[in-house]
Symmetry: C2
Subunit: 321 residues, 2 copies
DNA sequence: TTGTACGCGTTATCAA
DNA sequence: TTGATAACGCGTACAA
């Protein structure tokens, strides 16, 4: 193992001088600098990063905790990875499968200083537990509003959902069924939006039982099959996300149902699937949220951070409504 | 910062004893062990992992280099991440966007011992350059056969493609168009398969110009539009992957073309999209390849490694053929 | 402009 | 069974 002392010895200087050369510090005689650089090249030397981390007290590694790869988490992870790399940070990925123990592994690595910071897309442990780890390094979350201890790049989905509902109304749909997911704060916000929406337009309670806990393509397919058998049918379905909408759309088409002729479908997120299937949807700027998450972490680490994006939902009109 | 010396002082023992307790070494008096454990708990102490890495000479971090998140790379990355975590390793993800410089960052981290090993899903730099890094740690690749220096979990796609072609033939299709991707060894292998296939069944050269360099959904959509305008049409299209097949299928349906009535579509990979759209495809076991990749790395690191899976293609018959 | 020497926090050898 | 101490490799006061 060739180390800094070896280089110093061969170059006929001290380790301090070698270190100065490596880190581009001033006050090094040009000749000696060249000599050192030559030895470094000749011995194929590179500083050991564990030693540097130990000395500097940071690793420049940020952990990303996610339950799994989903069509919604992937764009976030990708964007986060890219911006982190641009700032000389690296990303360690933790797929927890929503298991408390696996999530704890990531938190413990923050504690043991293998990680400088953490971003939690989802969480398995209770908030107080996660909060208790903020004393070891900054933690940012996605999609959840917490408190001062844990900042968030959360967006209130009231506004986004309302955008979609207003669009459905403008297109003439009046018998709207809501398909919600189950987790966290998003659903209450969306329900509130629908509540205000139906009051605003004097829509009497349509009588469709809203669905809950639907998040996957197969969920959407099941909803399609029950729609076909329903006697009193909604004329539009607002989905919890694009996956549900995609499953719904494709299964309806398989059954020969015309979309949007017989029923309109509204997605949420604007992921690849929505683009492929030409689904009308609400764009959820997860890439910008990821960049904000990183900026917040950088700031809390005391480094120069880029400015935050303002986050906005956007209606993407396509052919499913 | 509370460190091992602090613990030793408060427990009235030496750092050696504390270290023994932490690492479950034998020969430590039970009373002292309890005392040490109590102090550790009280001070919320945890060993600094940079120091441990420095001392041990390894970080238990494995790098994963991928051009981007694609529908084919994501399952691999996910499976690799999970198996690595099961073995107490962690994964650092590098999205290179096929940029040599960004890829070099990962290789350099192997050199500087921040990474114990590397798996390359794609590569931007020339092979000799990548090979030159194997002296710093094991490197495994996906989808490319290289040499002893760089083992691979590559699968010869001749067999898989032939599986698909035989299926098309059995279903009665005779006028097959091939849509190839461009990169690497896969295309030549598939072309060889088609060559043998057409000889076996005395298919005269169909006269369809095979397409090359098609890999995305939008590529598939473009192919659909040109199929519609073509006068001499193939009755089946074998695609480079499921994304192309998906774009092709959806755009054809939009144009009112019946699939498989007017034309059959064969995908490759068996990803989520293929399941959603009910595409006939060839299953490519990327999760098993990922687990093999990790096993090979583990073995090269001199650790006990799980047995390798045997890798097999499988035809998934669905409604597009 | 340069070098000495110490500290970062841990593990492990060796002698007791 | 225990402790003193030497690494691991780097960065940087401080003194020169």
């Amino acid at each position: 193992m060739t180390n800094i002392r070896e280089i110093a010895r061969l170059a006929g200087v001290s380790t301090a001088t070698v270190s100065r050369v490596i880190n581009d510090h001033p006050y090094v005689n040009e000749e000696k600098r060249q000599k050192v650089l030559e030895i470094i090249r000749r011995l194929d030397y590179v500083p050991n990063s564990s030693a540097t981390s130990l000395k500097k007290g940071m690793t420049r590694i940020v952990g990303v905790v996610s339950g799994a790869y989903t069509t919604s988490s992937t764009p976030f992870i990708q964007a986060f990875n890219i911006i982190a790399q641009q700032h000389g940070f690296h990303v360690m990925l933790f797929l927890t499968d929503n298991d408390c123990g696996k999530e704890l592994v990531a938190l413990e690595m923050l504690r043991s200083k293998q990680l400088d910071a953490l971003v939690c897309l989802h969480r398995a442990n209770e908030w107080p537990i996660i909060e208790s780890y903020t004393k070891y390094g900054p933690i940012v979350t996605w999609q959840r509003l917490v408190n001062d201890l844990i900042p968030s790049v959360f967006m209130d989905q009231y506004q986004g959902y309302m955008l979609g509902l207003e669009h459905l109304h403008a297109r003439g749909y009046r018998r709207i069924m809501n398909v919600y997911s189950s987790k966290g704060l998003n659903t209450p916000q969306r329900m509130r939006a629908y509540d205000d929406f139906s009051k605003k337009y004097w829509l009497d309670d349509s009588g469709f039982a809203d669905l809950h806990g639907k998040v996957s393509i197969t969920d959407g397919e099941r909803i399609a099959r029950s729609w076909v058998e329903q006697t009193d049918k909604p004329d539009a379905i607002a989905c919890s996300n694009d996956d549900v909408a995609a499953g719904l759309l494709t299964e309806l088409k398989r059954a020969g149902v015309s979309v949007p002729g017989e029923v309109a479908i509204l997605g949420f997120d604007n992921n690849n699937l929505a683009r492929l299937l030409d689904l009308t949807t609400v764009h959820y700027p997860s890439d910008k949220q990821a960049e904000n998450a990183f900026a917040i972490l950088l700031d809390r680490l005391g480094q120069e951070a880029p400015a935050l994006h303002t986050l906005e939902f956007e209606l993407i009109e396509r052919s499913s409504t």
